[in-house]
Symmetry: C2
Subunit: 470 residues, 2 copies
Amino acid sequence: MLHPVVLSGGSGTRLWPLSRQNQPKQFLSLIGDHSLFQETVLRASRLPGVQPPVTVCSDDHRFMVGEQLQGVGIGNGGILLEPMARNTAPAIALAALHVAAGDPDGLMLVMPADHLIEDEAAFREAVASARRLAEAGWLVTFGIRPDYAETGYGYILRGEPLDEAGFRVARFVEKPDLPTAERYLAEGTYAWNSGMFLFQARRYLEELATHAPAIAAAAREAHARAHTDLDFTRVDAQAFAASPSDSIDYAVMEKTDRAAVVPVSCGWSDIGSWSSLWSVAQRDEDGNRHEGDVISVDTRGSLVRASERRMIATIGVEDLVIIDTADATLVARKDRVQDVKTIVDRLKADGRTEHLFHRKVYRPWGSYDSIGVGERFQVKKIVVKPGAALSLQKHAHRAEHWIVVSGVAEVTCDERVFDLHENESTYIPQGSTHRLRNNGADPVVLIEVQSGGYLGEDDIVRLEDVYGRS
Amino acid sequence: MLHPVVLSGGSGTRLWPLSRQNQPKQFLSLIGDHSLFQETVLRASRLPGVQPPVTVCSDDHRFMVGEQLQGVGIGNGGILLEPMARNTAPAIALAALHVAAGDPDGLMLVMPADHLIEDEAAFREAVASARRLAEAGWLVTFGIRPDYAETGYGYILRGEPLDEAGFRVARFVEKPDLPTAERYLAEGTYAWNSGMFLFQARRYLEELATHAPAIAAAAREAHARAHTDLDFTRVDAQAFAASPSDSIDYAVMEKTDRAAVVPVSCGWSDIGSWSSLWSVAQRDEDGNRHEGDVISVDTRGSLVRASERRMIATIGVEDLVIIDTADATLVARKDRVQDVKTIVDRLKADGRTEHLFHRKVYRPWGSYDSIGVGERFQVKKIVVKPGAALSLQKHAHRAEHWIVVSGVAEVTCDERVFDLHENESTYIPQGSTHRLRNNGADPVVLIEVQSGGYLGEDDIVRLEDVYGRS
């Protein structure tokens, strides 16, 4: 059986201001309606004889993973939470242990959550080829046939053919300089290292035990002492912390003598920057990609993305990336977008938060969006999912006013529990114990007006929480 | 006595998205804390022997004029409302009639409300010179000594000297082509037509009666039948409508034989575009002018203006204008900003409103800002000035919830009248007659949450209004 394993641990900010630490690239809808994570699990779900996906992610993103999996409705083979980042070798080991526990001969298709694949048929064919090799005990990596001399990726040199589609790996090579990349491109025997793999879970664990025993031992211990928290598998933090941090390439693939490569041309991109998103996106006859409410005059070669309820107008500009969000707008020359890192570093240095959070924040029970802030007040739009409840909580410094816009909210305020319907409002005095719950079938949309001298998110005492956050 | 007359009828959108039809350029704080209108009246107020300013503006802007005059606290010599735009000759005629009624020998210093003057000492000196000529019966225009070959302005050729500072006007010339403008610059006897004038009110009316009798008659009739509305003088619309539409230049200055020009170099700019604002603004060593929360990397020669509670990051860009507002952002090449007109035309054609209003709207009683809109709800932040009251009103389609954030609001809701204090809230059911009033000494800040199926501004029945709007 084939188990897709989605590595969703990344927290990159190369697509800032759209990507933030608490909502990295894989959870964004960059092309089309689904996020890259959703595209990844959907693509895997359409493979023949496939099981529900296993996801490895950080604790911070667990509710987003859960919600995005629910959103596409293809089931869930397990969500494994990494207590800390330890690179890909330990993360894949956790997934391998999880898969092997239920399916001792199980095959794993390992995929980063944030890659784009445009030619799904070619991808499926490559997976079928890789599967045959994996069933024969090979650890297969997918090599992307280069279509230009990229210097930002590692390369794989293929060796002797193993069958009509696969080759033994001759060697992995680091990111080359431009003349070397040009030679690789010309020679035709090199492929980009995509970070996608297919192998038996058991075989991976064997090779890991041989070549990186400390990682294998730490992962095994962390997995053995895992516990379940709602839909999530929390591996043991102390045991996992003992693992060396290493990539699957260094720890296993470069060392094993059973590494194979299946070269493929499948319209692959890791969307490592705004310019690479522009280059893979459909563009109009002026070379522009517009998303949202954009009016442009004499504009060429640009990626312009307006945010909700805001418009962007451009005049006479060329080769720009313009990305608007609720709290920050980026205007960059397209060939300079790697310097987004400089901006993010500056935000960090200044103790700001625009690289960490969006204005709209996802929670296990739904979401809130801080639509207005001023002296002594904050207004939030709160959406509570059907069947969900916020924690039972109280605030020392603020009072809250709730107005229901749609749905029916069950309100707890100290001893009283009552329903609040559309157009109705209530008042939660400072210090009162309160909770919001949605017992209905439709989302509850509610406007919360906070008033008081201190309105920080940390003024909260959680007394009870169905999501284990109290 | 010298009466400043401020022409504030413009509703240009050349500084879109910051300027909107209901808040044109003259009311914006483009450089410093005061608006151009306020700078204009303040500059005039510092002249010797000067009376409070007379303002001519459109009905739409009357409360903004009133509020901005109050904001600088220099008194008010009258606010004359033009029922419709009829260009400068009739507008100045209304002001002349207003001035002459109270001061038969009064002098008028006519100034557009939206010009910048950096060298106030030079301006004062020119006014003193012009005043001497005006007292001798001359109609004096201020000619700006050109410092480059501008093709966007009309020019004035000076004739024989009248005294050490002024000259008889030899002729007015239309906007020249570039070679002609270069010749004008080289010859040194041409000056830009600034649109500023100084003359006796009586003399202007005499010349107008001679050279444009229809305008003189219509203005006289409209003024004679004017009535007072709060602080405003409403001239008769029907009478004023009968006036031909013409500029003071065509109607009077080019025809009279008593036109004089006082050339002056006073750092004058009409800020006709974003690029001209950039060129007059103080800039950093990279040639950038930043306003608000801007982080820039390798950015040069650009004007970047962030709006409240939003940041703009720029990377590797040059010679751009980036103007952010609550609902629209402009990104334009600095030498293409005249095409803002194309964007505004497209907004008009599409039946949009981003060229008409800002999200924050000024009212005679204060302001409101639509901070959040969604299906079935709208959230507004409302500020009611001390002593002010909204109209007594009702809505057919929406309910309103009011939460007081600061100050004390007096609420009328059908038969009940009660005070609402900080942190308190109330509910105005659909169809109820209601009013908000601020009897206190501090502004009332209030969050209004509207809920209902239709939330348009036109769902309002005004039953009573202290500002004459019912």
